[in-house]
């Protein structure tokens, strides 16, 4: 079990992508401390693939956008290294191959697991999670690093903050 010091200095990342029909994809990445308080926030400008891009990327488009294009750009921008990065979008597990930290999918009603991307789910407390396929060691890393945090903080909650922050940023743009 992590020590209290380790817990207090740990940082956790939360990454999600919002789809807005007229605007495109908006990525948001929130880094919080062990108390759930925000340390950093990064969000992207809207990404809207062209028709040609959609055609040419085909089935690889979503993993590319969520993983490499948006996710990697956001997470590399952060100065604080998160010990675990959580996402609520199954496609975003694709970011794992570009970063060192384990990525955990919080499996909710909307985040049904795509077996091609994620390994079978596991639980921490009452929360069901999955990690990226091909990174089987992540399961134990995630369990070790996030258990204490998950005991007091609902892991799905920060995504709502990110969505509100993206909305706020979008309002600022207009």
């Amino acid at each position: 079990m992590p020590s209290r010091d380790a817990k207090s200095s740990a940082a956790f990342g939360f990454y999600t992508v919002v789809e807005q029909p007229q605007i495109g994809l908006l990525g948001g990445y929130l880094v919080v401390n062990a108390a759930g308080r925000p340390l950093e926030f990064h969000c992207t400008a809207p990404v809207k693939p062209t028709r040609a891009q959609t055609i040419l990327f085909g089935a690889t488009l979503e993993p590319y956008l969520y993983g490499e294009h948006i996710g990697q750009a956001l997470i590399r921008k952060a100065e604080t290294l998160a010990t675990v990065i959580c996402t609520d979008r199954p496609q975003a597990l694709a970011v794992r191959q570009y970063i060192d930290a384990p990525v955990a999918l919080i499996v909710g009603e909307e985040a049904s697991i795509r077996t091609s991307i994620a390994t079978p789910s596991f639980t921490i407390g009452t929360v069901r999670l999955a990690v990226a396929g091909g990174f089987t060691g992540d399961e134990s890393l995630v369990a070790e690093r996030i258990a204490l945090f998950a005991a007091s903080m609902p892991l799905a909650e920060p995504f709502e903050r990110i969505r509100q922050a993206i909305d706020e940023a979008q309002r600022g743009e207009r």
Partner: protein, 586 residues
């Protein structure tokens, strides 16, 4: 080569597709997508039979950087002079994996303009999680509307919390202060309140923020000087008189207060008063005002409170509707009807009393003589003269000056018998100490307790405790002035307004001593009204004032009634009067 070529700036995996009509197309995609399957429809390629030309299109890549907006947030200072909170992880009451129906989130006020600053608030965890994480314990779990009040106060540098009495403004303010201190956003807070409420605030701080040291500024001048200068004092409580007396302290402050909170902020509604001037001069970064009656007589009351909260934000002469819109982001006002659906009902009984024959005769004589005198004075008659007559007539409605007869007393005594027999407790309000003393003598068999201006401050807490705990002491005689605000008397099931105050807000304050959170059952309010007298005419004026209050705080679209006019006041006695608006004494 026939076809089209797309180039990407990264190492590429080259994949070839055979297109219909024997045209060929080479598609370069980033290496990472080697496993992907691109499907190219003919229409995407364009006119295949066109003359061969090369079109280059760049796909996403490392040189086409995605614009990312970034914010970093300050972390709580560790040097805060608050005892460290023992960090622990407590299991939330709800399933941590499930999102509860609603979190209470801090929303940035409209005055916060910079996106980074707005995001700082938007990205804070909901209050429920902050409480759990910081191990902030409470005597009872706050109601949802109270959490909203805390979330309203916390991010604001200028705020007026104007909840109806009894909704827990005190705990909302204390909890918001507590969060600011723990977040390192405040280090020095000054709370100013009426003198009788100092001990109440101390008690409430002890209950709602027991880890915070509170210093009450009191005693002789030397002691107060020492208390004002104490370092590392996160919370100071001072009454209005002390603040006015020690005004020079604020000229010498090395640092402004991070927050100044005014309780019962209607105390500064008189713009020119010394208290108002001193309070406005206190150097501060945040200004919060708390009052259940932000508007007692006219919209100017609110303007003057705002001269502390956010100077210049409201102006004299603003119409109530415009004032409501202009102050909407700084004011939070909820009524019990809106937020406490489960609070026991408040039952009003208007007890219309026929004066006794002796009272009626005294009243008739006094009114005739008074009106005659006012008429003779003509243009010399002032509001003060009118008020003197009103007060005289109201006193006669209470007791006949010659015989001591009182129709109200007879009715009150009968009602109190019933109250005492049922084991309940009653509060009786009057605006006059003399009336309360007379009632105490005439109702001696009930062993009533008294709480008014003549009762020393050192005895007051003991009186309230006795009223609460002693089953034999079922009646408390209270003056509007001493007992109208800040007292928690929710164990009383009956309130009697022996005479009526000048404005409904003060009456509401009085009633809500009993009708507040914790009330075990319905609260019955009996308003005595001597028929055919000045009391009935005043009642009509009070009704008009309620309409004014509703215009500013409840319904911005309501008709903009501007309150009393001098004509209406003189009209109480059907007298001709000068024109122009006036203010009633409160």
């Amino acid at each position: 080569m026939n076809g089209w070529r797309w180039t990407a700036p990264e190492p590429l995996a080259v994949r070839s597709l055979t297109l219909p009509e024997a045209a060929s197309c080479v598609v370069h995609t980033p290496l990472s997508l080697a496993a992907g399957e691109a499907t190219v429809a003919p229409e995407a390629i364009g006119e295949l039979r066109a003359p061969p030309r090369v079109v280059s299109q760049r796909l996403w890549g490392s040189r086409m950087r995605l614009r990312v907006r970034s914010c970093k947030f300050p972390q709580p200072s560790e040097s805060l002079a608050v005892p460290p909170v023992i960090e622990h992880v407590a299991a939330p009451t709800a399933d941590p994996g499930a999102t509860p129906p609603s979190w209470t989130r801090i929303q940035p006020p409209t005055s916060v303009v910079r996106l980074e600053d707005r995001l700082y608030y938007v990205l804070q965890p909901p209050l429920e999680l902050v409480f759990v994480e910081r191990a902030l314990e409470f005597p009872f779990h706050p109601f949802p509307y109270q959490l909203e009040g805390i979330a309203f106060l916390y991010p604001r540098t200028a705020a007026l919390l104007a909840d109806e009495m009894g909704l827990g403004k005190t705990m909302q303010a204390i909890t918001a202060v507590r969060l600011l201190l723990h977040a390192g956003q405040a280090r020095a807070v000054l709370l100013v309140c009426p003198k009788p409420l100092v001990t109440n605030w101390q008690r409430e701080f002890h209950a709602w923020a027991p880890e915070l040291p509170v210093t009450v500024v009191e005693g002789d001048a030397a002691r107060r000087q020492w208390q004002w200068q104490l370092p590392d004092t996160p919370i100071r409580i001072a009454n209005y008189e002390v603040v006015a007396r020690d005004r020079e302290v604020f000229d010498r402050l090395a640092e402004p207060y991070d927050l100044v909170v005014l309780d019962e902020a209607q105390r500064i509604k008189n713009h020119a008063s010394t208290t108002a001037q001193v309070v406005r001069s206190i150097p501060r970064r945040r200004s919060w005002a708390i009052t259940g009656t932000p508007l007692e007589n006219s919209p100017d009351d609110l303007v003057n409170i705002f001269e502390f909260v956010s100077p210049g934000h409201l102006n004299h002469g603003m119409k109530p509707g415009r004032m409501a819109r202009a102050s909407a982001d700084q004011v939070l006002r909820r009524t019990k009807d809106q937020v406490l659906k489960d609070l026991p009902p408040k039952l009003f009984r208007d007890a219309e009393i026929e004066l006794s024959s002796a009272q009626r005769e005294s009243y008739r004589l006094a009114e005739e003589q008074g009106v005659l005198r006012l008429a003779e004075m003509g243009e010399e008659a002032t509001i003060r003269h009118v008020f003197e007559l009103v007060l005289r007539l109201k006193q006669i409605c209470n007791f006949d000056p010659a015989t001591g007869e009182s129709a109200k007393l007879e009715r009150l005594a009968a009602d109190l018998e019933e109250v005492a027999d049922s084991g309940r407790k009653a509060i009786v309000f009057s605006q006059w100490v003399e009336t309360l003393e007379t009632l105490a003598a005439k109702l001696a068999h009930f062993r009533p307790l008294e709480y008014h201006g003549k009762v020393p401050g050192t005895r007051r807490d003991a009186i309230l405790q006795q009223f609460r705990d002693d089953a034999q002491r079922s009646v408390l005689l209270l003056s509007y002035g001493a007992g109208g605000v800040g007292l928690n008397l929710q164990f009383a099931g009956y309130v009697f307004l022996f005479d009526r105050w000048w404005n409904p807000a003060v009456e509401d304050q009085a009633i809500n001593r009993a009708h507040r959170i914790g009330a075990a059952g319905p609260v019955t309010v009996t308003r005595f009204l001597a028929t055919g007298t000045i009391e009935q005419r005043i009642d009509q004026i009070l009704q008009e004032k309620r309409e004014l209050f509703d215009t500013v705080f409840n319904d911005a679209q309501a008709h903009e009634h501007s309150g009393l006019t001098q004509r209406e006041l003189f009209g109480l006695f059907k007298l001709k009067c000068p024109t122009g608006p006036i203010r009633l004494a409160s």
